[in-house]
């Protein structure tokens, strides 16, 4: 099972500013001062091994969109944030207009940052493609129609070339879809959101974003621990610090890296992927949060327990389970 992140940013797409590009350049040029690189390989080695991560990478700015490649012929994608555009472009490059494909979307919820990529998804315009939108919310089509009708967008939803199907799901029910076993779980978010657990061939991944975890809600904690149980990967909304999540931003519907580690430890998950990053944070801050989360995992781990691997999502990241 391979996971690819097409969009990892929360709430709103962002782009890197010139100021931040120049800051990365300054870091790299200062580190390279006085050095001589005889070959491209030597330069690449320097970049990979000696420069800070935040100087050579960017987390990217697209909103939520995650591909789950379980090896079957149909595509599986969680959410349609702005990252969906790049996924769609890659599909056009791979298949062109003449080879119809089946795309299965699993929607956490219908807030704008999770559907905004759909009008820019080229395969939706190609007759022959089949787009199945799996959702637990009642009448998800209404959200897509509102987004893709006047005055919001010039191309009406009903004029798209692909066949678009809305597949209702119910939380806590296990279903077979696109060659995988899927179960949804209700989450705490304004208007409700749903997490999904995908399983195939002994591998499992949980996609859980836009989900607030309140430390005092023991019943909710137990439901999520069961949902995450022994997962190979948990993709987790860690937009806020815990201090924000229990004070200023309480009931805003998001969670923290602290809650992520606690739940993953309790459920014996293998790998935590921090996701739905705060749009106000730059690469340096997001990298700091990632490293702090690794440290927090070390501090909180029970003696003898295997370590929980902690990663942080960035646009373009691929992980194999």
């Amino acid at each position: 099972m391979r996971i690819k992140i097409w969009g990892c940013r929360g709430s709103l797409p962002v782009a890197m500013s010139t100021t931040r590009v120049r800051a990365k350049l300054q870091t790299a040029l200062k580190a390279a001062a006085g050095r001589k690189f005889d070959t491209d390989a030597a330069l690449e080695k320097f970049i990979s091994e000696e420069l800070p991560w935040a100087a050579t990478h960017t987390f990217g700015g697209n909103t939520s969109c995650v591909q789950i490649d379980a090896g079957g012929p149909e595509y599986i994608i969680c959410d349609m944030g702005s990252g969906l555009r790049e996924f769609g472009v890659s599909m056009m490059a791979a298949h062109g207009p003449a080879k119809p494909q089946i795309y299965n979307f699993f929607m956490s919820h219908l807030h704008w940052d999770h559907i905004m990529g759909f009008p820019f998804f080229p395969p939706a315009y190609i007759p022959g493609n089949i787009i199945r939108i799996h959702a637990c919310h009642p009448d998800p089509r209404a959200a897509f129609l509102r987004q893709q009708s006047a005055p919001c967008f010039p191309v009406h939803l009903d004029s798209l070339g692909a066949t678009i199907q809305f597949i209702p799901l119910r939380p806590d029910e296990t279903v077979q879809a696109a060659g995988v076993t899927v179960r949804a779980l209700l989450q705490n978010h304004e208007g409700d959101s749903y997490g999904y657990r995908f399983e195939k061939g002994g591998k499992s991944v949980v996609y859980t974003t836009d989900s607030e975890h309140k430390p005092e809600d023991i019943a909710s904690r137990d439901r999520f621990v069961e949902f995450f149980r022994n997962a190979g990967l948990v993709i987790f909304d860690a937009q806020y610090s815990l201090a924000e999540a229990v004070s200023l931003k309480e009931d805003w519907g998001h969670s923290s890296n602290i809650a992520a580690v606690e739940l993953c430890h309790q459920s014996h998950a293998d790998h935590l992927l921090l996701f739905h990053h705060e749009p106000a944070f730059d690469d340096t801050m997001l990298h700091r949060i990632w490293q702090e989360t690794i440290r927090y995992e070390e501090l909180m781990r029970d003696g003898g327990a295997p370590p929980l691997r902690v990663s942080s999502a960035y646009d373009g990241l691929e992980l194999d389970l």
């Binding site: 815990l242 229990v246 004070s247 440290r295």
Partner: protein, 113 residues
């Protein structure tokens, strides 16, 4: 969990001992809020020198106490954080919200300032 208490003029020094986790946090929160509930002159200095573990629900208890102080005018300070708890405060950003001091003297001075 054991919470040692020392009377301090109009306020208290509270010294919890052990872990503040899912099991112990409710009692800790109740004791802390009660100590802060004696009006705008209430003052609590929380000695964390014997706390070796603090989970999210323990941190939430501290945030609730902090919010109560903002409403009532009571004062809450913390001191003698163990290295692990200090790191947890930094990672969770609680160090940007709560008033933390190195030692008892500095904490008590801040309450009388």
């Amino acid at each position: 969990m054991k919470i040692e208490t020392e009377i301090l003029g109009a306020g208290l020094i509270l010294k919890p001992v052990g872990r503040i986790d899912q099991t112990t946090a409710p009692a800790f929160q109740e004791r802390l809020l009660a100590a802060l509930d004696s009006g705008q002159d209430a003052a609590v200095a929380l000695d964390l020198s014997e706390v070796d573990f603090l989970s999210s629900i323990g941190l939430r208890a501290l945030m609730i106490a902090h919010k109560q102080c903002q409403t009532s005018g009571a004062k809450l300070v913390l001191f003698a954080l163990t290295p692990v708890v200090r790191e947890v405060f930094a990672i969770s950003r609680f160090d940007t919200v709560l008033r933390c001091f190195e030692d008892r003297g500095a904490a008590l001075s801040s309450l009388t300032a």
